[in-house]
């Protein structure tokens, strides 16, 4: 079933990509092929692949249960949060939070996870700042003045 659904999504996306390629403007001075042809070729091959997946699906993959999916979702949210907070919160705080979250999600031992996060945050800061010479802010900017 997974393959059939994926195949369908692939066909729809490939057609959308194809349609969007036809909308590209041909500049006045262009090469014989122009900017449209290559994307249209890719889209055509992708449609064929999608159709094959619909008609000849593989065995169903082992999807994890709902809780595991939630964990993966939380991990993704934590990483997005990290991406947004790296600058405003400073390196130390945001990295410690992200490290703790990932560690806890892999092995649910809170104390170990916090220790892992904090040590990584401090250690990586020292390495990146003083060995690699990256310009990282340790703490939120408003604290650093």
């Amino acid at each position: 079933m997974t393959d059939r659904i994926t195949g369908l999504i692939v066909v729809v996306l490939a057609l959308a990509y194809f349609a969007s390629a036809t909308q590209l403007q041909e500049p006045f001075f262009s090469d014989p092929l122009g900017p449209k042809a290559f994307p249209m070729m890719i889209a055509s091959v992708a449609v064929i692949c999608g159709l094959v997946m619909i008609m000849k699906p593989d065995q169903e993959p082992e999807w994890p249960g709902l809780t595991t999916f939630m964990h993966i979702g939380i991990a993704v949210v934590a990483l997005v949060f990290y991406a947004y907070t790296l600058k405003p919160l400073g390196f130390l705080v945001s990295t410690a939070i992200a490290g703790t979250a990932v560690s806890y999600l892999i092995e649910a031992r809170a104390k170990n996870a916090v220790v892992t996060g904090v040590i990584f945050s401090g250690g990586l800061f020292l390495i990146f700042k003083f060995i690699f010479g990256l310009s990282l802010f340790a703490l939120p900017r408003w604290l650093m003045g």
Partner: protein, 500 residues
């Protein structure tokens, strides 16, 4: 110009203290990365690449460091195959078959040493092969025009999708995803933007390092969260390590044969080390008189795949350096490194930047000796690395990936993109869609389109021009064969299993 003069240039570069230190550091780091289950050469090299830029290394130094990590990881992959029955990386899969049974029979040390020596033989001879063959291939590559390059890219994608995968449609789809992503951004020929959705961040296209780190490293983290990093306790005893001279002498021909097979498999663009170790194992098993011990700890079943995959690792560097077409996932990552350093691999590299090519080759020769020392007398030290908990390792991988990409681009948008690629990589992996073709598509898509359009300019839109030279026709035929081979050979190429 002859090989010895070139090697002299190379050793001059490689023996400078700093470069030498980088090679040794790369070997140690690589062996550790390779031995950790879940971290292989491609994701190991991927997360380290952004750091080489912030470290301010020049092209040769960056390449020496990264290829040492690459070779090291290829050596190290066997350690967890033998001790845990979990391959440290994909090419080390075949080593599980006989390595783990041998370790269970109380000969873990012997298995590690034998496979270390086999790795050395394979990697060293392949480096010599690289040294002899690469300049030759480079001189042929001078005759390549746009039609030939287009055919060559087709060959790379076809072999990757054919021999290298289980499901042709899925591999081809992966290529399309990569090529499609490559078309995002400014069209080099007309200067107009395509498929950016007017998002300013996308005008320059998607940085392939962002995609690589996302697909290889971030997705790995998600996979580990799913599996909760379950059991990685060493199930076998590792006694004092001594050298099993008998086994080494008895498997010398096995190693040499496997090296030749692996090297050739590595040369095929897109096929890579996994194929090398697979073919070497199968060949050995089918050619010996008594193969009843295979899968139960036959020393030949350890020597063959290890020599094969390390030889393939060296072989894969040949098309990467001479043609700009990588032969495996890791060489694709190395190609990304070169492209980011503004070095265009290809025949001209050998004339314009001999210090890069020959410095690299000389460093690889040195790295092999270093790796033999690390992987034979000191192997016990690396077996301890296996006990690092994933709950410590994976956060480290995530954080290094983030800081690496952030230091490279300084944009939170790229971090989000990287997370997106991580999720994509996870889904692809669940559905058994390979992610290496995606990377290769992103890397080569631009060149592929430019060459196709150049060919059409030269021929004024005549498509038969693509098949007008002997070289291009040969490449097209090889591409078709490479893609169709699995349909014909499917029955014969069933992966063997352990019989314990």
């Amino acid at each position: 110009m002859d090989i010895f003069a070139n090697l002299a240039i190379g050793f001059d570069v490689a023996l400078s203290p700093f470069t030498l230190a980088l090679a040794v550091a790369g070997c140690i780091l690589g062996t550790m990365i390779g031995s950790l289950p879940g971290l292989g050469p491609s994701n190991g090299v991927a997360i380290l690449i952004p750091l080489t830029f912030s470290f301010g290394l020049d092209a040769t130094q960056a390449l020496v460091l990264m290829t040492s990590v690459y070779y090291g990881a290829m050596y190290g992959g066997r350690i967890s195959s033998i001790l845990l029955n979990i391959p440290g990386d994909e090419p080390a899969m075949m080593t599980c078959l006989d390595g783990y049974p041998m370790a269970k029979a109380g000969r873990a040390g012997d298995a590690l040493v034998l496979s270390g020596v086999a790795s050395f033989v394979g990697a060293l001879l392949a480096t010599v092969g690289l040294m002899l063959l690469a300049p030759l291939l480079a001189s042929v590559a001078y005759q390549f025009g746009p039609a030939e390059y287009f055919a060559l890219y087709m060959l790379a994608f076809a072999t990757l999708g054919g021999i290298g995968s289980n499901n042709q449609a899925k591999a081809a789809l992966a290529v399309c995803i990569g090529l499609g992503i490559a078309t995002i951004g400014v069209d080099a020929s007309t200067g107009m933007t395509r498929f950016t959705g007017d998002n300013m961040h996308l005008f320059d296209g998607i940085d392939f390092l962002v995609a690589i780190v996302g697909l290889f490293a971030v997705s790995e983290v998600l996979v580990f969260i799913e599996s909760h990093g379950k059991d990685s306790a060493i199930g076998v005893k590792l006694e004092k390590v001594r050298i099993p001279w008998g086994d080494i002498v008895r498997t010398k021909w096995t190693m040499l044969k496997a090296t030749a097979i692996g090297f050739i498999a590595g040369l095929l663009p897109g096929a890579g080390a996994s194929l090398g170790s697979f073919l070497a194992y199968m060949q050995e098993k089918s050619s010996v008189r008594d193969n009843s011990q295979f899968g139960k700890g036959d020393p030949r079943g350890i020597a063959a795949p290890e020599a094969g995959n390390n030889a393939a690792a060296g072989g894969a560097l040949v098309p990467m350096l001479t043609l700009g077409v990588p032969g495996s996932g890791t060489t694709a990552v190395l190609l990304a490194l070169l492209m980011t350093l503004n070095i265009t691999p290809g025949p001209t590299l050998f004339n314009d930047r001999p210090e890069v090519v020959w410095g690299l080759i000389a460093s690889l020769l040195i790295a092999n000796v270093v790796l033999l020392v690390l992987n034979v007398p000191m192997v016990k030290m690396f077996s301890r690395v296996l006990q690092v908990s994933p709950a410590i390792l994976l956060p480290g991988v995530t954080l290094v990936a983030f800081v690496g990409i952030y230091s490279l681009t300084g944009s939170y948008f790229d971090l989000l993109l990287m997370i997106g690629f991580g999720v994509l990589g996870y889904l692809l992996r669940k559905m058994d869609i390979p992610s290496v073709p995606v990377i290769l598509g992103i890397l080569l898509g631009g060149h592929m389109e430019v060459n196709l359009r150049r060919a059409m300019v030269l021929s004024d839109g005549d498509w038969t021009y693509l098949f007008s030279s002997g070289i291009s026709v040969g490449l097209w035929i090889a591409a078709v064969l490479g893609f169709l081979a699995p349909f014909i050979l499917r029955g014969k190429l069933k992966p063997p299993t352990q019989s314990s």
